[in-house]
C-alpha cells in the first residue's frame, strides 16, 4: 500500500526539482512583495515592527495560494490524474502524499525564509523563533485547505481566481491564530494557546481535508 504513495511523492519532488522556477515562485513572491513594504509605508522601524507579523502572515497565505493552482491541474492536463485513481492505495492517502510534497516545496520554504523576513521588518529577536514556529504549524493547514479548493475547481478555466475566492475565507482562522501566536510572544503575553490552536487546526485539517479532496477529485474524474 505504501509503494504507490512513495512513488508519487518521489515523482512530485523530482518534478519540483526539475522546474525550480515554478517551485520557488511562491517564496520569491513572498520575498519580493515583503521588500516592498518598507518602501511603501516608509522605513520607520516602529511602523514596520507593528505591522510586520501581520504582513508576513498575509503574504505567506498569498504565496501558498499562488502555488496551489498547479497542484492537480498539471496531473489533469496530462492524464496522470486517472492513474492516481487506479493506484492500489486509498485516494485519501494519495492526495495526502501530494499535499505533503506541496508543503515541502512551498510552505517549508516560507518557514525557512521567515527569520530573514522578520529581520527585514525589524521585528524583535523573539520573532526569529516564534514566526517560523507559527508558520510551521500554519502553512501545512493552508496547503490542505487550499488543496480542497484546487481539487474542486480542477479543470475549470479561471480556476485560480475562483480557488482564491473559495479558499481565502477559509484561511481566516489560520491567519487570526497565526497572528495572535506571534503577537503573543512579541508582546510578552505568551502565545501558547494560539500555538496549540494552530496545532489543533493542523490535525483537524490533516484528518478531514483528504476526504474532501478525494471526493472532489472523484467528481472531477467523471
Amino acid at each position: 500500500m505504501w509503494q504507490p504513495l512513495f512513488a508519487l511523492a518521489r515523482r512530485d519532488l523530482r518534478l519540483a526539482a526539475r522546474s525550480p522556477a515554478e517551485t520557488f515562485m511562491g517564496v520569491v513572491f513572498f520575498l519580493v512583495a515583503l521588500s516592498l513594504f518598507p518602501l511603501g509605508v516608509g522605513a520607520s522601524p516602529d511602523i514596520l515592527t507593528r505591522i510586520g507579523a501581520g504582513v508576513i502572515w498575509v503574504l505567506a497565505l498569498l504565496a501558498v495560494l499562488l502555488t496551489l493552482d498547479r497542484l492537480f491541474q498539471a496531473d489533469l492536463d496530462d492524464g496522470s490524474l486517472d492513474l492516481l485513481h487506479l493506484a492500489p492505495a486509498p485516494l485519501e492517502l494519495v492526495v495526502l502524499a501530494k499535499c505533503a510534497v506541496h508543503w515541502l516545496t512551498s510552505g517549508l520554504l516560507l518557514v525557512l525564509a521567515s527569520p530573514l523576513l522578520a529581520l527585514l521588518m525589524t521585528l524583535p529577536p523573539e520573532a526569529y523563533w516564534a514566526l517560523p514556529l507559527a508558520l510551521l504549524l500554519g502553512t501545512p493547514t493552508l496547503t490542505l485547505i487550499g488543496a480542497i479548493g484546487s481539487a474542486l475547481l480542477v479543470g475549470s478555466r479561471r480556476g485560480s481566481v475562483l480557488t482564491a475566492l473559495i479558499v481565502l475565507p477559509l484561511y481566516i482562522p489560520v491567519l487570526v491564530f497565526g497572528m495572535s501566536a506571534v503577537d503573543g510572544v512579541l508582546l510578552g503575553l505568551g502565545g501558547r494557546t494560539a500555538f496549540l490552536i494552530l496545532g489543533a487546526m493542523l490535525l483537524a485539517a490533516a484528518s478531514l481535508a483528504p476526504f474532501a479532496i478525494a471526493a472532489a477529485l472523484r467528481l472531477a474524474a467523471e
Binding site: 492524464g79 486517472d82 493506484a87
Partner: protein, 219 residues
Amino acid sequence: MRSAVAAADDGATHERAAAFEADGLACRRGGRLLIEAADWRLGPGDALLLKGANGSGKSSLLRLLAGFLWPAAGSLRHGGLDVFADLPHWRSLLHLIGYQEGLKPSLTVAENLAIVTALLGGSVARCGAGLDRFGLEALADTPARFLSSGQRRRVALARLVAVPRPIWLLDEPATGLDAKNRSRLEELIDAHRQGGGIAVVASHGDVALRSPHVLDLGD
C-alpha cells in the same frame, strides 16, 4: 521470432480474469443517453471490441468500466460480484489507457515508466521488459517532452507489460502507432488473452483482434 520469445516470457506473469459481465448497462452523459442496455459476457481470454462513430460513447463506456462514471442503469459484474460495490479492488485489477498518456514532460521515458509502475503497485524490475517490448530502449533517457505522439503512446502501452493486471481497457490504443508497433500491440493483446486476461478495446478498426465479441454503439 524475438517477440514470440518475449510472449513466452511474459506468459508466466499474466493474471487470469474471472467472468466479466454487463447486464442492461446504460450510460448517460450530459443528459444524453449514450448507451442503453449493453449486455456482454466475457470469460478469461475474451476480447470486446467497441465500435461506433465519434461521440457514440466508446470513451465514456470505457471510463464507466473503470469506475469513473456511474451507470444510469444495469449492472457490471466481475467474478459474480458487482464491481461498483468494491471499486478500489476492481480498479486494482485493471489498466485504462485513455487518449492521454499520463507522461510528465520533464521526466525521462524510463523515469515515467518506473514511476507509473510503482504507482500502480507493480515491480520496477519489470520496466525493462516494458521498454523492450515496444522498442523504447534507445529512448529510455529521453525526456518525454521530446517524444512524438506515437512514441508517447508506446510508453503508455509499456505499462501493460510492466504491471500485470487481468483487465485491460484500451481507448484507441493504436493511435499514432506505425505498422510495426501496431503488430507488437496486437501480439501483446493476444498473449494477454492467452494468459487468461480480458481486453476491452475501443477502436476504429486499426487493431486486429482474434475473434472478438463486438459491441456496436452505432452513431
